[in-house]
């Protein structure tokens, strides 16, 4: 077995260190080492977006990033979206619009939508659909997800 690598990083605003094998993905590290299981594995090859996290301000599929690559970087996961003051407006709007059914894709959609609204606070429907095309949902047909994101944008999420 290859020697484990010591990695220092910031996850959800808190400094963190972990040991990981060179071959472990960021998704594996988040789930198995940091025990942050909110990021989900749907495909493990970057096709479904269920493992989306924000890495130094950029939306990525954590299954396509290696654990050692986050050395010195900043990672935001679904667990870092709400605050002690309560839910993020995107999370609230997902609930109000019933924008989830089984919920397995929901963390990825919320993280992706947050990354979108940080770049473009007032997206059109078409822009939301384009941005979220990397996130698969099999339950909702996307209708209520798109409405939730547009509504969150309208209240200044």
């Amino acid at each position: 077995m290859p020697k484990k690598i010591h990695v220092e990083t910031t996850i959800n605003g808190k400094p963190m260190e972990f040991l990981c094998e060179p071959r472990q993905s960021l998704l594996e590290v988040l789930r198995d080492e940091a025990r942050l299981t909110g990021s989900k594995e749907g495909c493990n090859n970057g096709n479904c977006g269920a493992c989306n996290v924000i890495l130094d301000g950029r939306l990525v599929n954590s299954c396509l990033v290696l654990g050692p690559e986050v050395q010195g970087k900043t990672v935001t996961t679904i667990e870092g979206i709400a605050s002690a003051q309560g839910l993020h407006p995107l999370q609230q709007k997902f609930l109000e619009h019933a924008a989830l059914q089984c919920g397995i894709c929901t963390p990825g959609f919320i993280v992706a939508a947050k990354a979108l609204l940080e770049k473009n606070p007032k997206p059109s429907e078409e822009q939301v659909r384009h941005w979220l095309a990397g996130n698969l949902c099999r339950c909702t047909g996307y209708d209520k997800i798109i409405r939730a994101v547009l509504d969150a944008a309208s209240v200044g999420a």
């Binding site: 594995e41 839910l87 019933a98």
Partner: protein
């Protein structure tokens, strides 16, 4: 609490689901999230060939790899023998179920499980798989239903004898079963027809496509009891299946259903659960197995590819007089395709005096098919609803008027026998006919189309519509039918001292159902939805519950919650009578309050009485177990506008409206969600999705990228129109809503494509290549 216009206080409102916060914050625990001390990771070795005999399996090198703790093969599962058991998902042949978990002597499809490894990490388990040596004797394979039916086809099962109309024929073939439904006189019927249309259809194998791969974690304890945590549509069904496969009593198995990331019928049969249990038994440690996406495509689900021939005839007044169908469904590796429901549904939307239906269940070297949302009905409706559209065209009758004239109503007898109770097909057609979508301009000049776009208020793919404003556009409609199941459900509900109720029910919740069940309890008790705290119980925590399937949960488990509320009410009345020193007959329960009928000054709200329970004899627990019979049927009518790119064959959905009889919408948002999600699965089935098999019998597109389910960019908003024809067989009028919305889309889209370019599509999916081939053929002709 205010009473709504519908006469209810809770039903018909849209409260935030009880499990919502956990799911938007990433805290909800799904099966793959299970962590526990000493957990081992399991991986499955799968067959690289579609058909062959396993001559030997050598695991010695793999066992020697550091970190590997155990390996199991089918030798570790009890041989259940060739017998049929009722395991909560219909009858199952245990020999086939066992072989599908770990192959016994033979492999019947590429991807079939052959051996399993438990190791200290997933990566080591995967390395160990490469060290297992399996010697196969390759056999010829067959992956197409019609090829498999030929006399010279390679046989999957040497001992399989075709059964026809319930009797063994003595003939060995890949046809497991032939069924037949007859009504009237088919030859006489066609003699009365002024117009007859006949066509052949092919549909591809498609997958349920849930985003969460299958998983199971098992702990075989030193006392011989087993606990299994897994994502399943039915904890009790998993318990029954594992009990049979491991030859142990159900009482020694506890199944804990975790949150589940989609199922659509595909998470009822066990794949990993008995294997994880066998590995845990061998190691004495908990073992977690998860599938990867390719495993999910190649070894679970899918729903059948099919060949269907349909002939229908109508008289000159547009009355259907005869209908005939031949359906052949691919069962996959083992018998059990949904040919029965397919054959029952194919003409179920219509009142037709003369019908003849033949159905064939055929094994092929593909994964064993599983249920998928209205199993069998979508294939069938693609064929029959396309033929109906063509009849309307030839008779020059509006397709909705034709369906209203011929539509099934209360009292209509289906070809397979049953007579419909009160159903709402005609109501969906009437609503569709008045809907702005159906009334809007269908085709016309450029300006009209632009206005039409604005009216839609949703976003067809702009790249296409702006660059090619004159691409052909068309509109199609189609209807669909699917059954509702009743089956058994249990619930118990405890009154808390603060006036809330903790509800334990046994239906795993895939789409918000625990809230719909809690709302029925709240309505019955006269309290708010958020004053009920629902949880899904494990198999030791709640009474027996059948699977989350058959569009039955809100109907049947909701009914159990309703009955548990009646039980609470009876006990609350007794308790109030005790407190007031009157008889129970002198107490009334009204609007969430108790009132003394002989002393007007004596009143207690639900909450006030709840506070007094501990001091007056203890808490109150309501309970119910039901097996309701009053199921309704579900009907839907969909309208779709498409644009066809004549340079590429790509079909774009411009507008989509799904009208459905939902009985009574308990939580309208989640009813709409079922309709929207089902319609979009149907759109994917219609336009993109398909298992591509190469000549080696291998699925060539076993990834989300290549299988290509619809994304947000492929779709407009999906308008769900709820029609409420209350089901008289349920206390609140509930019908099952989850499955029927997948039935109409392929036919509706095919009809819209015809309307746009004058070409009848006879094969699913109607991918750009297939549409382009038809366009080029038309051009040449």
């Amino acid at each position: 609490m205010t009473t709504l216009a519908n006469g209810f206080k809770v039903i018909g409102t849209r409260p935030i689901r009880h499990d919502g916060v956990d799911k938007v914050t990433g805290r909800a625990i799904y099966g793959a999230d299970m962590q526990m001390a000493g957990l081992l990771h399991g991986r499955i070795l799968r067959s690289p060939i579609p058909h062959g005999i396993i001559k030997s399996i050598d695991v010695s090198k793999a066992l020697a790899l550091p970190g590997v703790e155990a390996i199991v093969t089918s030798a570790e599962l009890t041989d259940p023998g060739n017998r049929i058991a009722e395991l909560g998902e219909g009858a199952v042949n245990l020999k086939d179920l066992s072989s599908n978990c770990l192959a016994r002597g033979k492999v019947h499809y590429k991807g079939q499980a052959v051996a399993a490894v438990a190791a200290v990490s997933p990566n080591i388990a995967e390395e160990a798989l490469k060290l297992i040596v399996v010697d196969y004797q390759t056999l010829p394979h067959v992956t197409d239903v019609r090829a498999a039916m030929r006399d010279d086809a390679p046989l999957l099962h040497d001992d399989q004898v075709t059964e026809s109309l319930g009797q063994p024929t003595g003939k060995h073939s890949n046809i497991a079963k032939h069924i037949q439904f007859k009504k009237g006189d088919i030859d006489e019927g066609f003699k009365q027809a002024a117009v007859v249309v006949e066509r052949e259809f092919h549909t591809a194998t498609v997958h349920q496509g849930y985003i969460e791969p299958h998983n199971a974690t098992a702990l075989w304890n030193a006392d011989g009891t087993v606990t299994i945590w897994c994502s399943t549509q039915g904890a009790f069904s998993v318990r029954a299946q594992v009990a049979e496969l491991l030859a142990m009593p159900v009482s020694r198995i506890k199944v804990v259903p975790t949150e589940i990331g989609g199922g659509f019928g595909g998470k009822i049969r066990v794949y990993l659960e008995p294997v994880a249990a066998a590995l845990s038994k061998k190691t004495g440690k908990p073992v977690k197995i998860t599938m990867n996406r390719a495993d999910v495509f190649e070894a679970t689900g899918p729903t059948p590819g099919s060949y269907i021939k349909v002939k229908m005839g109508a008289d000159k007044d547009g009355k259907l007089v005869a209908a005939q169908a031949y359906l052949a469904y691919e069962a996959g590796a083992f018998p059990g395709s949904p040919i029965g429901p397919g054959a029952m549904c194919i003409f179920a939307c219509y009142d037709i005096p003369n019908v003849h239906i033949d159905g064939y269940d055929v094994v092929v070297n593909k994964p064993a098919t599983s249920a998928y949302r209205a199993p069998g009905a979508t294939n069938a409706a693609f064929a029959s609803e396309t033929i109906v559209d063509e009849l309307c065209e030839k008779l020059k009758i509006d397709p909705l008027d034709f369906r209203i004239k011929n539509g099934a109503r209360e009292g209509t007898r289906r070809a397979d026998g049953p007579i419909f109770p009160l159903v709402g097909l005609v109501e969906t057609l009437e609503v569709a006919k008045r809907h702005s979508h159906f009334l809007s301009e269908r085709q016309g000049d450029k300006e009209t189309r632009r206005q039409g776009d604005e009216k839609m208020g949703s976003s067809p793919c702009l790249l296409v519509s702006l660059s090619h404003p004159l691409l052909p556009r068309g509109r199609g409609v189609a209807s669909g039918f699917w059954f509702n199941c009743g089956l058994k459900s249990s619930a118990s509900a405890s009154v808390n001292s603060d006036g809330t109720v903790s509800l334990v029910e046994g239906s795993t919740d895939i789409g918000g159902s625990r809230t719909g069940i809690a709302m029925q309890l709240a309505e019955a008790l006269g309290i708010r939805a958020d004053e009920v705290r629902p949880v899904v119980g494990d198999t030791d925590a709640v009474g027996y519950c059948d699977v989350t399937g058959g569009s039955r949960v809100t109907f049947a488990t909701g009914w159990a919650a309703y009955e548990a509320a009646q039980d609470i009410k009876r006990q609350m009345i007794t308790r109030a009578a005790f407190i007031w020193s009157v008889t129970s007959e002198e107490v009334a329960y009204e609007n969430g309050s108790l009132r003394c009928l002989v002393d007007d000054t004596k009143r207690l709200t639900f909450k006030e009485l709840a506070e007094k329970l501990h001091a007056t004899g203890g808490t109150i627990v309501g309970r119910a177990s039901v097996d309701p019979q009053g199921v309704g049927g579900a009907f839907a009518t969909h309208i779709v506008d498409v644009e066809v790119d004549s340079d590429t064959g790509k079909v774009t959905i411009l507008r989509y409206t799904a009208v459905q009889d939902v009985g009574k919408a308990i939580h309208p948002s989640y009813v709409e969600g079922q309709i929207q999600g089902g319609a979009v699965q149907g759109i994917g089935w219609a336009l993109n999705e398909e298992y591509f098999y190469n000549d080696q019998g291998t699925m060539a597109n076993a990834s989300f990228l290549d299988y290509r389910m619809p994304t947000s960019l492929d779709l407009p908003m999906i308008e769900a129109v709820l029609v409420e024809v209350a089901n008289p067989g349920h206390p609140y009028g509930v019908r099952g809503v989850g499955e029927v919305p997948i039935v109409p889309p392929p036919a509706a889209i095919a009809n819209a494509i015809y309307n746009a370019i004058g070409i009848r599509m006879e094969e699913l999916p109607m991918s750009p290549g297939r549409v382009m081939a038809k366009l080029l053929a038309k051009k040449r002709a």
